[in-house]
């Protein structure tokens, strides 16, 4: 364990002594950097919570961790069979969808809790299945409620499949009763931007304490330079890429001609 962690844990304990029912967070990092070797990362979130230690485990409260990525606009398309071809037919636009969503708790929480506190995107046991209040949709030709529901489910399913939506109640590890630790897998497909991490201490089905912080995902190094160049000066970028192609093509022709002569 490094010095940083020790300092954090000491701070955590000190603040626990001074407060009852408290929640303290020590986060590993507040930046994820995408470079040429980026292949995803585990975000470490840890901290401590305090509830009456004389109580049994289930009365001590639960920890809920929510990570919400920057918003994005999405077109969801449905393929239909057309003369034997599977072609995109109907489409629905979803605006302000979190590009990344992760929800983790120490035990399975009731849907009524999520509903009451408007937390969550992936509740599956009730209708409407998703907390869509913050998402704008353009339905286009889709009109029936049944079909809308189908699109909702497909969005969550596709996002889950890409490992950018996840809900779990198994990934938070509790150490010695008061400390918790979890690794949140951030896949290599996540967009750049600011991510919110929200932590809640839940006692008796109510939020007792909450804590939020942000971390940033950004490109660095050559990846960042190329991306910005391509988007800010597309023509110049195209020309540069062309010149590289011309030079390599020219050199290779020359090199191999000499090589064959020799």
């Amino acid at each position: 364990m490094n010095l940083k962690s020790i300092i954090i844990i000491v701070t955590v304990y000190l603040s626990l002594i001074l407060n009852s029912n408290s929640l303290v967070i020590g986060s590993d990092e507040n930046e994820i950097l995408i470079d040429a070797n980026f292949s995803g990362k585990d975000l470490l979130v840890f901290g401590a919570f305090y509830a009456d230690p004389s109580q049994p485990r289930e009365k001590k409260g639960d920890i809920l961790i929510e990570v919400v990525g920057p918003k994005e606009d999405i077109v969801l398309r449905k393929k239909e069979s057309f003369l034997g071809f599977w072609l995109n037919a109907k489409s629905v636009k979803f605006r302000d969808v979190p590009s990344f969503y992760y929800l983790s708790s120490t035990s399975k929480l009731k849907d009524s809790f999520f509903e009451k506190n408007s937390i969550g995107l992936l509740e599956t046991d009730q209708l409407p299945e998703v907390n869509w209040s913050l998402i704008t949709t353009e339905w286009g030709t889709v009109s029936s409620d049944e079909e809308k529901q189908e699109f909702y489910e497909a969005l969550v399913r596709n996002k889950t499949y890409e490992n950018v939506f996840k809900q779990t109640s198994e990934e938070i590890e509790i150490l010695d009763g008061n400390l918790f630790k979890t690794n949140i897998p951030i896949p290599n497909t996540v967009p750049v931007g600011t991510y919110d991490v929200n932590l809640y201490l839940i006692l008796n089905n109510k939020i007792s304490k909450d804590y939020s912080y942000k971390f940033k995902v950004r490109r660095i190094g050559i990846e960042s330079i190329i991306f910005n160049f391509a988007n800010s000066f597309p023509l110049l970028y195209g020309f540069t890429s062309l010149v590289i192609a011309l030079i390599i093509g020219w050199i290779s022709a020359d090199l191999f001609r000499r090589f064959r002569k020799a």
Binding site: I74, F85, G238, S241, A245, L246, I248, F259
Partner: protein, 307 residues
């Protein structure tokens, strides 16, 4: 070892990319083809987004055509005037092709259209190559030599705006080469190919150009067409991935040289039969994806993902 591609926004195994570039380069060197028609679908297979595959493939073809054209140029086998006329149609065609591509991306049909076009293209190339090579193999077994016509006289010689092409020793109308260039330009912009396998037979059979000048001239004009397609994609779809391009260019030029050396040591028709089968397999694979019901009929894409 993975590398993160800045425009495709995915991380992918670098050795997979190098071997893909090397194999396509090898095949193109061996058969004297551009290889774009294999590069684009293979890139899509390994998970590169369609728009990035098309734009980057065009950029890679610029390098391989320059590399090939230099040799022909030195031997005086490039008909610049014919190349220029083809190009005048080709520029217009490539603009139409990239606009068409952009339009299809926006309405969500680009993947299906690309699949249909590639299936049609690969299936016809594969079938033609298989027929041609099996005939040559049959003739070889029967010890027959095939005589080829040197010059075709057809409708291309009867249209107006006739002009002299000294290098090719032709006196034909400029309309057929402009139309051919235009069509190839559209295909290039939409599919990220150079189009030499369509261009070469068209130049021989429709225009009646001498076979010796055809390859150099087609390579010459493909340099410019794919260069324009690259620029148009960089500025319209923002899908050109320079990192991916450099990896593919270097691996494919090396592969191409190995291919040229190998081709000199082996019998052409046997290899062409083999390539024909590979091409047909890729075509069937593409068709299967179109006709078989997908696991999930829903798919999503990001809006305005260019910015």
């Amino acid at each position: 070892m993975s590398i993160y591609l800045p425009i495709a926004e995915i991380s992918i195994n670098i050795f997979l990319l190098i071997s893909l570039g090397g194999v396509v380069g090898f095949l193109s060197g061996m058969f004297g083809l551009g290889g774009g028609f294999l590069m684009t679908p293979l890139l899509i297979f390994i998970g590169i987004p369609t728009n990035v595959a098309v734009a980057t493939s065009a950029n890679q073809i610029v390098a391989s055509s320059v590399s090939g054209a230099i040799g022909h140029w030195r031997q005086g086998l490039v008909d610049i005037k014919m190349g220029g006329v083809l190009l005048s149609g080709g520029i217009l065609g490539s603009i139409v092709g990239v606009k068409f591509f952009d339009y299809l991306s926006n309405i969500g049909q680009i993947d299906a259209v690309i699949s249909v076009l590639y299936f049609a293209l690969l299936f016809s190339i594969g079938a033609l190559m298989l027929i041609e090579s099996s005939q040559v193999i049959r003739d070889r077994i029967r010890k027959k030599t095939v005589k080829k016509k040197l010059h075709y006289h057809n409708w291309a010689h009867r249209l107006p705006f006739k002009t002299k092409f000294y290098t090719s020793k032709l006196y034909i109308s400029v309309i057929p080469p402009i139309i051919i260039g235009f069509v190839i330009g559209i295909l290039s912009g939409t599919m990220g190919i150079g189009g030499s396998f369509i261009l070469i037979p068209a130049m021989i059979y429709f225009l009646g150009m001498p076979t010796s000048k055809v390859i150099g001239t087609s390579l010459f004009q493909i340099i410019f067409i794919t260069a324009i397609v690259t620029l148009l994609h960089a500025t319209t779809t923002f899908a050109l991935d320079a990192v991916l391009a450099v990896i593919l260019i270097i691996s494919s030029v090396v592969g191409a040289q190995v291919g040229v050396i190998t081709a000199n040591k082996l019998r052409g028709e046997d290899l062409r039969a083999l390539l024909a089968i590979i091409v047909l397999v890729v075509a069937v694979q593409i068709a299967a994806e179109l006709f078989i019901q997908p696991d999930d009929v829903f798919n999503f894409s990001h809006m305005a993902n260019y910015k």
